[in-house]
Symmetry: C2
Subunit: 459 residues, 2 copies
């Protein structure tokens, strides 16, 4: 619940940067209330709001961080009379102040401090917390909605969180560290006849046993063509590919986001291997493109071009590579974006809409296959992004004449039909933009077809 002592200075620096950007405008950031699952006392595992975590590193419910125009104070609930019985000893205000480097006061004192002031805030995803903050501030606070007063706070927070400081990079590394054994365990647990749930369980157990949790609902499916497939009830069949999009959360709440795709049998079929190699080349080419100054949309297009080249070579597509991309033909088989920002959220700062992902003046394309691109900024050192190309045979797309019309005779369905044992492949790594290029944070997780097969053979 408390931040690591090594983070104290970074937390103070983040608050100082934000204070400088805010000037004399006061701001409140809430940690969030615990979220009830069935009833008030039966709760989802507590997750503090990412903005609050970023500034205070404290995973404590019902906290409020207040910048009064000069400095920061943490307002926390005082322990109730029965808390020790139910929840045990909790750190006192003095210890929290020491670890966060921030003054701590009782929550009951917050209303007086706020009185009569126009205060900026960022809405938490939890409506109940928003309502509470709205009551405290005497103004509207709603998820996804910013008042004009909040805009400079949102801009400052985005500017700050976009480029990860050393403490954040350390957390991203920890998240990657716990994610590697999960993918190895998943590969090793895979066997024909088992449920997808068994592999999911083996992967998630690696997080739980290290006392961390998944950063997002894991996708572990033989139906990789369903992009957000959160069901685990299918049996694994000999000829299936299993797609696992599974990442852990660091102790400080930072996310890792990794996808691997492996053959249930332990050996890729010829057709699976051919398409796997295309996706792997798409991924490597995209990662190679990551460096400061490069526009992320161009990384996305790099993947599409590599896909066009690869699928033309296999005979699945015909025609000019550039035209296949521009006309949206490759998008029929790779309909999502190449990736997104990574940080305390798996899509970092998506709570602020496209403000984080899109540079000022840039907006989302309305084109099929490109409108899901969540990031279009020029890359800067310290940014962390995912690179996650894929190949999918989605019945809803390939069976939709309005969508496939763009391909004309450039999509060879006869050849594509030979690859029916590939429904979905995705290969995803987390990449940190460095001063001169990039570093793959999740490089320890095997992705060469032969390495994946070797892991599975040793199981």
């Amino acid at each position: 619940m408390l931040p690591d002592p090594s983070e104290r200075a970074a937390l103070a620096r983040r608050r100082e940067h934000l204070a400088r950007a805010l000037g004399s405008t006061p701001a409140v950031l809430a940690s969030s209330r615990p979220r009830p699952r069935n009833y008030a006392a039966d709760q989802f595992p507590f997750r503090a709001s990412s903005h609050f975590l970023y500034l205070f590193g404290l995973a404590a419910p019902d906290g409020m961080g207040f910048y009064d125009g000069q400095g920061w104070t943490l307002y926390l609930p005082e322990p109730g009379p029965d808390d020790a019985l139910w929840d045990g000893a909790v750190p006192g205000f003095a210890e929290i102040a020491e670890r966060t480097g921030c003054t701590v006061r009782a929550r009951a004192q917050l209303p007086a401090a706020l009185k009569g002031r126009a205060v900026a805030t960022l809405p938490t995803p939890d409506l109940e917390t928003c309502m509470e903050v709205a009551g405290l501030l005497g103004r509207e606070v709603r998820p996804g909605k910013l008042l004009p007063l909040d805009e400079p706070l949102a801009e400052a927070m985005v500017a700050l969180r976009l480029r990860h400081d050393d403490a954040a990079v350390a957390q991203l590394r920890k998240a990657a560290e716990v994610t590697a054994p999960a993918h190895l365990a998943g590969m090793r647990a895979t066997r024909p006849g088992l449920l997808e749930a068994v592999v999911r369980s083996a992967m998630e157990a690696e997080f739980l046993s290290r006392d961390v949790r998944p950063a997002y609902c894991p996708i572990v499916t033989v139906h990789g063509e369903v992009l957000h497939n959160l069901k685990y009830h299918h049996a694994l069949r000999e000829g299936d590919l299993l797609l696992a999009d599974v990442g852990g959360e660091s102790p400080g709440g930072f996310a890792c986001d990794v996808t691997r795709t492996w053959p249930v049998s332990g050996r890729f079929s010829t057709t699976q291997r051919e398409l796997y190699e295309v996706v792997l080349r798409m991924q490597k080419a995209s990662i190679s493109a990551v460096r400061p100054g490069v526009r992320y949309r161009d990384v996305h297009l790099t993947a599409h071009r590599e896909m066009a080249r690869g699928l033309v070579a296999l005979g699945i597509l015909r025609g000019d590579v550039e035209e296949l991309v521009v006309d949206g033909v490759t998008a029929l088989l790779f309909p999502h974006g190449i990736g997104h920002l990574m940080g305390l959220d798996v899509h970092d700062m998506e709570d602020l809409g496209d403000r984080a992902g899109y540079a000022p003046g840039r907006t989302r394309s309305q084109e099929f296959g490109h409108r899901y691109l969540r990031l279009d900024r020029d890359l800067e050192p310290g940014m962390a992004v995912t690179i996650e190309p894929g190949f999918y045979q989605v019945p809803g797309i390939l069976g939709d004449a309005r969508l496939t019309a763009r391909a004309g005779d450039r999509l060879n369905r006869e050849v594509l039909a030979r690859y029916s044992d590939v429904r979905g492949i995705r290969i995803e790594d987390d990449v940190l933009v460095t001063a001169t290029g990039h570093e793959v944070l999740t490089a320890a997780i095997p992705k060469e077809a032969s390495d994946v097969e070797a892991v599975m053979a040793r199981a």
Copy 2:
């Protein structure tokens, strides 16, 4: 997501019973919106509201069940244009109607059906859903708050859910079935030097691999004296007892709630065994008392009397058994209630406050150790309850002179100090009240000290 075909008739019967109780008063019950974790698209695993699940068996977000004064209709969102890409094929309205036995219409048609009517509802735990229902009904809807119009609905729902029908009992059995292997895995995974998290992981993996989930946040701790200890970071030491309060959820959403306490070393020490046997006798005596017509508070007091007898025999307490109970001396070492209702919620229907747990005219005691008793009804066939006595050395209680004053010299601290290797023991089973007595739903999970040791020895 769909109910099992075998449940169709039971679901229809439940709706029919409720309709009869409501007469011409219309009612709406919401399934709940998905709950955002970090941002709108990053969600906690979806859990439908228990009242909705009880009537429709359908774990689908954004559903509304509407009783118009004559019959029930399910109003569900129509799939969006991109849903098939992201979420795959979902069952159509016709299939849902067939499986639930209920008419299904598009959500967009609900406002017209509600127009101008005074409609009862039960608030979901999710405020956002409450606000949505409030908007639809043009009235206040808040978690934990019932309008006079809602009272008959709440009463009818409690009357219905209190006594489980065959379909509900089948679900409770399934929840118990998945919980047994979790406890066996926990015992087998326990070894000095490991983190609590490792044992928790081994237990939870048994749920995940069967494609179900924990019914509540698992407690797996060497600090059992902290009653709701949700931390897993302690290392297991040779002389520790490990307390695991872990239960699975059935596919239909019903809970199991089981606690076992086992020695990290695999063998209870003499002192641990002596106190373990006291708690086990408390538990067996309490279970034996469960039958129709018995007041649950008397089951609670049975445990306290058995505790008094056991601790007097060990020399920890002195004095008259009845007085030790009445004066609240045993409550110092067993400060929580003997149990609670079980069903779709682990504390069944606690969203309705004490309306479910307390019979009309009965209210909670204000006495320490008895005010946490969540149930005080005369038991009836079909009720399911937990029986979960414990023994705890809580520093916050034993160090509080105001609390311990009641014991006078009846608490022998010198003898108690010899039992310092016992911080917390709890033994908990789920018990179904039958026509003539009771059935322990979780009887398959070892609890005799020798059986627990045998399981651990085989690991």
